[in-house]
């Protein structure tokens, strides 16, 4: 048992940790990509331009309505073929491999982005109109208005929801093992298939996921406190 999780060539400890590293790496890059998508599409949804509304609505409806695994399959198998098809039009007939990390980040980021869009849209909607008006009255316009007045308040309202999206994103990374990226899930499958000790390795996987979520919860709690300065924590009594 201890031999199985020892470090170095005799055990799987280093491989499992490396898997955890990739899980964290994909999760972080996916949530960041998702936040960028979320901010842009929340803007689209709140925009008064009808076409932008429709684009954003189409995106969130499709991604949130389709199983995550399907989105990943589509990007992994379909994405590669699509890229090669385009390359053929330009006269390149070789094989182009999309890196599993890139595909994984795109797929999980696209999923995460759809949820972030809704969280950010909700948070912006919750900000009273008067805040925008006060900002204008102070002479702030456009980006400055958002930077100084709106964003800090959106962050406070969006953080609990984003924390939720983060946990979903973290767990979605388990699905990208199909792309060949050796993250925690794929590594546990390799180790259990090679040693016939699935119980040990899936248990280690559970522990690794729990450690990552626990640490990130602490970070999100800290951030929530930071962005809630000046607010009293309300409890239902």
């Amino acid at each position: 048992m201890l031999e199985a999780i020892s470090f170095g060539d005799a055990g799987w400890g280093d491989e499992m940790l490396m898997g955890a590293f990739w899980t964290v790496a994909v999760s972080i890059s996916s949530i960041l990509l998702g936040l960028v998508i979320g901010i842009i599409f929340a803007g689209f949804k709140l925009s008064s331009i009808r076409v932008l509304n429709l684009i954003a609505e189409f995106y969130t409806t499709i991604i949130r309505g389709v199983p995550e695994l399907l989105v990943i399959y589509l990007l992994f198998f379909g994405g590669g073929s699509a890229v090669m098809y385009v390359a053929k039009i330009f006269g390149y007939f070789g094989y182009i491999e999309l890196q599993p990390f890139v595909i994984g980040t795109l797929a999980v980021g696209a999923i995460s982005g759809a949820y972030s869009t809704e969280v950010i849209r909700g948070a912006v909607n919750a900000i009273p109109r008067s805040q925008f008006e006060t900002g204008s009255a102070l002479g702030l316009k456009g980006f400055r208005l958002y930077q100084k007045i709106i964003f800090p308040q959106v962050a406070r309202l969006a953080l609990p929801g984003i924390g939720n999206v983060w946990q979903i994103t973290l767990k979605d990374t388990a699905l990208i093992s199909v792309t060949g990226l050796v993250e925690i899930m794929r590594q546990s499958r390799i180790a259990s298939g090679s040693t016939h000790e699935p119980f040990i390795f899936y248990t280690i996987a559970i522990i690794l996921y729990l450690i990552i979520t626990r640490v990130s919860n602490v970070a999100f709690d800290k951030a929530e406190i930071r962005y809630s300065r000046g607010f009293v924590k309300r409890k239902i009594s």
Binding site: A4, G8, D9, A10, G11, W12, D14, E15, F76, F77, G80, S81, V83, M84, V86, A87, F90, F93, G94, Y95, I96, E97, L98, Q99, V102, S177, V178, T179, G180, V182, R186, R189, I190, A191, S192, G193, S194, T195, H196, E197, P198, F199
Partner: protein, 276 residues
């Protein structure tokens, strides 16, 4: 417009990593699962090892090719071949008609019958039948063995792994309740825990499990099953367009079988001769 196209294509090239040009077989990329002991698996140092790895290296020497291994999850192993992630699959994959619709195969390099496994406490463990069940043989003996198997398995829950020749066989020949597993290991655990009454799989994989503490109570029963949907054996999967590569593998495999190399590798990893 042209400018946008150029930006797009350079973006694509920027995120692409390996680029290979087909038709030149001095370098061959072999796709394998790396989690199917003893066929192909990963040692604790992270190296891919196993019977098929030894065999592939030997075949590549015969073909004067430089071989690299690419690990791929079983779920996407055929699409990744057709897309060109690697050129050959050597992953304990049985040659079947169903798979031949999508890819072609070299001649089989190893053959292994399927068998049923149960716990030694199960009434099924005492079931006796003909020694072999050859599904390519249409005689009455075949029908008799199948019906006695169906009688014995009445009301029992039989495990198979998903999208395997064993699932095909069970679907087309057996009436019993099937429980379909994504991996062999999950099926092993459920058999040991008594959640299924029996499982159907390759002899070698089950024997590897029987050698561990968790599989100590597992025994085999029934006939050796082969032919029909169970196919000719395990072969190398190759894209249908690469007929030259298939010819190279066919010849190398025939040579390796003839000079005893496959027998030697098989004895080393399986403890028995699986040479075709």
């Amino acid at each position: 417009m042209k400018k946008i196209n150029l930006i797009f294509i350079s973006l694509i090239l920027a995120i692409s990593s390996t680029i290979a040009i087909a038709g030149d077989w001095s370098k061959i990329r072999i796709g394998t699962e790396g989690a199917y002991e003893p066929w192909n698996f990963t040692d604790s140092a992270g190296n891919i090892v196993g019977a098929e790895i030894d065999l592939a290296n030997n075949l590549c020497e015969r073909m004067n090719a430089e071989c690299t291994f690419v690990q791929q999850d079983w779920d996407g192993i055929i699409p990744a071949l057709t897309q060109g992630k690697y050129d050959v699959i050597m992953a304990g994959m049985s040659v079947t008609d169903e798979r031949k619709k999508t890819i072609s195969f070299s001649k089989a390099y190893m053959t292994e019958p399927a068998r049923f496994f149960t716990l030694n406490s199960s009434p099924l463990s005492t079931f006796s039948s003909a020694k072999n069940l050859n599904l390519d043989d249409d005689g009455s003996a075949t029908a008799g063995t199948i019906s006695s198997l169906n009688n014995a398995l009445k009301g029992a829950k039989l495990g198979v792994t998903v999208a395997t020749i064993h699932e095909d066989f069970a679907n087309s020949y057996l009436d019993t309740d099937l429980k379909i597993y994504p991996t062999q290991d999950e099926m092993n655990l459920d058999l040991a825990a008594g959640r299924i009454d029996a499982m159907l799989c390759d002899v070698g994989t089950a024997e590897a499990f029987m050698g561990t503490a968790g599989g100590a109570n597992v025994v085999t029963f029934g006939p050796n099953v082969f032919g029909g949907p169970l196919g000719e054996g395990v072969g190398a999967g190759i894209r249908q367009s690469d007929t030259d590569l298939k010819a190279m593998f066919d010849k190398a495999i025939a040579d390796a079988a003839a000079d005893g190399t496959i027998t030697k590798i098989s004895m080393q990893w399986f403890g028995k001769d699986l040479a075709p």
